[in-house]
């Protein structure tokens, strides 16, 4: 457990010290919220900002998680991973430290989005909304940073990783329920959106904002996160003897 903490601290320190990266990663999601929520000429619902906020929150987490895999890729390319693997601490702590840090960074970004949303007039009517939203985002973050680190373990160079990342992130976002309600989707999109794990998170958060607790969504996310973690650990062990 200690190892996880130390690896987490290392990544956190390295991130905080690159000021530009911190600035960009905190501003970008907020910019998305403003552009999509306020500036988009099409409106699918009456109060579109209220509707889009959960979508942007989950999107922030999704992009942050998938982007996070590069941390592991670079540790691998630059020789850090080999140095760490030769240490006596349990090797899996490298993996868990990464997943935790990526998720944590995503939660920080989500916090900015949440703050901007409130400033723009999104109402939070229930005191359970905020903590449960964080819980859902956390589980969702574990799920996708687990996927990201697994991909990072399987590919050998940054370019392949970036290609997979961009191939996955946009389609996942646009085929989810982030931008429009199911009712106005074309038939094919409705099917894709209802299968997309991103939609599970968005619908659950949207439910929380409306005061309902969708146990189903959370259960599915937890189950998927656990499966992904198991696969990730398996791949990690295979990739490192």
């Amino acid at each position: 457990m200690k190892g996880v903490q130390y690896y987490f601290e290392r990544d956190l320190k390295r991130w905080i010290r690159s000021k530009r990266a911190v600035f960009a990663s905190l501003v970008m999601p907020a910019a998305w919220l403003i552009f999509v929520g306020l500036a988009l000429p099409i409106r699918f619902t009456n109060n579109y900002l209220d509707f889009i906020t959960p979508g942007i929150l989950v999107m922030t987490m999704l992009f942050a998680s998938l982007q996070g895999g590069t941390l592991l890729i670079f540790d691998k390319i630059l020789g850090f991973l080999n140095k760490f693997l030769a240490l006596p601490v349990p090797r899996e702590s490298i993996l868990f430290g990464k997943i935790l840090f990526i998720t944590f960074r995503g939660l920080l970004q989500s916090t900015v989005v949440l703050g901007v949303a409130v400033l723009l007039g999104v109402k939070i009517n229930y005191f359970t909304t905020i903590p449960f939203t964080y819980l859902v985002l956390f589980i969702f973050g574990i799920l996708f940073s687990g996927i990201a680190t697994t991909i990072a373990l399987l590919v050998d160079d940054y370019d392949s990783y970036a290609a997979i990342n961009s191939m996955a992130s946009m389609p996942l976002f646009f085929t989810s329920s982030a931008l429009m309600p199911y009712e106005v989707m074309p038939h094919w999109l409705r099917i894709m959106a209802s299968l997309n794990p991103v939609s599970y998170a968005i619908d659950t958060v949207r439910g929380l904002f409306a005061g309902t607790f969708l146990l189903n969504g959370i259960t599915v996310l937890i189950a998927m996160a656990l499966v992904v973690l198991m696969i990730s650990v398996y791949v990690f062990r295979k990739a490192t003897v």
């Binding site: 130390y6 290392r10 390295r14 850090f80 006596p88 601490v89 003897v241």
Partner: protein, 317 residues
């Protein structure tokens, strides 16, 4: 024995990177020498539990690298050739991270101690991106030493360093040995291995072709090495007491028991073959010469390599 291997072998698909090697390393500075791609790093990766051997066994401080991997990791330190230090962290933070990961008891003092030992105390709180290459290397040594390993594996520790940084690096390595640390080094710098290693093994295409102290290896090929700088085609030579060692482009090397006596004989014989002899020199053998002799097979196709080298040069112009 600090390191011991029995028929250690690694296949990558069909290619044999390390071919049934047997090593015994005691408390010493042991150098694994060889050209790029000879299997040095692969060997180290297996000994540091980072790669699974295909065949054979290896023990570090008596622990099996496969079955007792965690115990092995407890007694070793490994510094790969990549110079992997976090440049956004300070030197002290870099070492402290390793102290924590190793679970070092009195970590603050221990970190100070190894930084001092590596001559980094003054710059310890600067970020590593302001460090020179030599300092980064020493920082890696500090990281490796913070838990007092019994065996230290260094993969090409002087790669890319300038002359004074190299000397400093070797001074530190030598002083570690005096403290009782076994040092297992890979390098392709023969002169450094010659000066600082207690024993060396020469590895070529995965096989150990020679293993002994540098002095004994040098003695084994003869007393003197004669280098003849010539132009023309060398057809081989048969003079008693003079042995052909190998060819490096226009330099043909021979060994002889007495260089000064061999010189006139050689000069005459080479001229008789129609070669133009530009210069002849006599010197004591170096590890390079040992290497040339042991890995000599590829040198016999000297003219072929020669041609390739020339086309390469021409392309550069």
């Amino acid at each position: 024995m600090s390191v011991k291997t029995y028929e250690l072998t690694k296949y990558f698909n069909k290619r044999c990177a390390v071919d049934h090697i047997n090593l015994e390393v005691g408390n010493e500075i042991f150098g694994l020498l060889g050209p790029n791609g000879a299997g040095k790093t692969t060997t180290v990766l297996m000994l540091t539990t980072l790669l699974k051997p295909s065949m054979g066994e290896a023990y570090v401080c008596g622990f099996d690298v496969l079955k007792e991997a965690k115990k092995v990791r407890n007694v070793i330190s490994y510094v790969p050739q990549d110079m992997a230090v976090d440049i956004k962290l300070t030197g002290r933070e870099n070492v402290l991270l390793f102290a924590k990961l190793y679970g070092v008891a009195d970590r603050k003092n221990k970190v100070d101690e190894v930084l001092e030992l590596m001559g980094l105390s003054e710059r310890a709180d600067d970020r590593v991106n302001s460090y020179s290459g030599g300092m980064r290397r020493r920082l890696e040594l500090a990281q490796a030493l913070v838990h007092e390993p019994q065996v230290l594996f260094l993969d090409e520790p002087t790669l890319g360093l300038d002359v004074s940084a190299r000397r400093k690096m070797w001074e530190h390595i030598s002083s570690l040995k005096k403290k009782g640390v076994t040092i297992f080094i890979t390098t392709h710098y023969m002169d450094e291995a010659d000066k600082f290693c207690d024993r060396v093994a020469i590895i070529d295409r995965g096989k150990i072709v020679a293993m002994d102290s540098p002095a004994k290896l040098k003695n084994s090929i003869g007393k003197d090495v004669i280098t003849a700088s010539v132009s023309g085609e060398f057809k081989g030579l048969n003079i008693e007491g003079i042995t052909f060692l190998g060819r490096e482009i226009d330099n043909i090397k021979f060994t002889a028991e007495s260089g000064s006596e061999a010189l006139p004989l050689l000069s005459e014989a080479l001229s008789r073959q129609g070669l133009k002899v530009h210069s002849l020199s006599v010197r004591e053998p170096s590890l390079d010469d040992v290497f040339l002799q042991k890995v000599g097979t590829q040198e016999e196709q000297g003219s072929f390599d020669d041609y390739k080298f020339r086309t390469l040069l021409r392309r550069r112009k």
